[in-house]
């Protein structure tokens, strides 16, 4: 669900780990532990791999020691802010088929939601992810794609172009995203300011979401010491 998914969808991230979204139930955790054991992976930070911590929304961090795993790090999560539960994510997943293997990743709309964090680096990533999808499907977009772009595009010039091109669809999305009014009016400056405000609101919401979880993490660190 992390950097590798971003690369597949058209953004670019030099991620140093592999982020996995998993179903956190007893049966699947047993399977995950077996796979981690094969990779000779060990937990490198709090919390330990327990369902209750995954259910809280915390990530569990591992490093692999198997020689073929090249010291890779793996982060595991099962719950993310603003993103549906695993069953819905799995039903909407995208599968990329390669010659000798396939990779399941979050659907693009889900990945974009998961990237709406408090970190600076995630926001240009969201812009690239949506831009890439826009340019790839511009010639004959589905209604679902047009609505997705209207909800998520972060490039002001493209959003103006889109809102004016699909003037019959945009009004239906304005209730969800009021800044589309600036896009429809072609007001670049107002739109850029509104996009900035939109980002700040999401970042603040992410900080608020993480506040109790960070307290939980601090308690776990203290308990470990």
């Amino acid at each position: 669900m992390g950097g590798q998914a971003c690369v597949l969808y058209g953004a670019a991230e030099f991620s140093r780990d592999t982020d996995l979204a998993i179903l956190a139930d007893a049966e699947n955790l047993a399977r995950l532990k077996k796979a981690l054991h094969e990779l000779q992976a060990f937990c490198i930070a709090v919390p330990p791999l327990e369902q209750r911590f995954l259910d809280m929304g915390l990530a569990v961090h591992f490093r692999c020691q198997h020689e073929e795993a090249g010291n890779q790090r793996i982060d595991v999560m099962s719950k993310m802010r603003g993103v549906d539960d695993f069953a819905a994510l799995w039903n909407r997943r995208t599968t990329f088929d390669f010659d000798d293997h396939s990779v399941d990743v979050l659907s693009l709309p889900d990945l974009v939601k998961a990237k709406k964090t408090q970190r600076n680096k995630d926001w240009p990533m969201i812009a690239r992810l949506v831009e890439s999808n826009y340019f790839r499907n511009l010639d004959s977009p589905t209604d679902e794609q047009i609505r997705f772009w209207l909800r998520e595009l972060r490039t002001a010039e493209l959003l103006i172009k889109l809102a004016q091109r699909y003037a019959e669809t945009a009004p239906a999305i304005i209730a969800l995203r009021p800044l589309l009014a600036h896009a429809m009016a072609g007001d670049l400056l107002a739109l850029e300011a509104a996009l900035h405000d939109e980002e700040q609101r999401e970042r603040e919401a992410d900080r608020a979401y993480w506040l109790p979880l960070k307290t939980q993490l601090e308690q776990l660190r203290h308990a470990r010491q």
Binding site: G10, R16, R119, L217
Partner: protein, 79 residues
């Protein structure tokens, strides 16, 4: 797919080239970067990320600030 000129107008030539690749091509290019990074002694340890809710400076120092191989600035010009 939009044509290259249209993408370049908004994003510049490098991003246009990246967007125009297939997912497999991007995956392979990304793998090449990895190979180069590791061949140059790059580390898989995370960069300190104070904006991440998971980041704890003390924990990061204990786990990763070991003086091992990584990418460092060895010369900086101007600012």
């Amino acid at each position: 797919m939009a044509d290259r000129a249209e993408i370049e107008e908004f994003c510049g030539p490098e991003w246009a080239e990246w967007y125009l690749m297939t997912p497999q091509e991007r995956w392979e290019e990304s793998a090449k970067l990895w190979a180069t990074y590791l061949a140059l002694g790059g580390s898989l340890d995370p960069e300190p990320d104070p904006q991440s809710p998971f980041f704890d400076e003390q924990e990061w120092r204990e786990l990763f600030a070991h003086g091992g191989p990584g990418v460092r600035i060895v010369r900086r010009g101007g600012v």
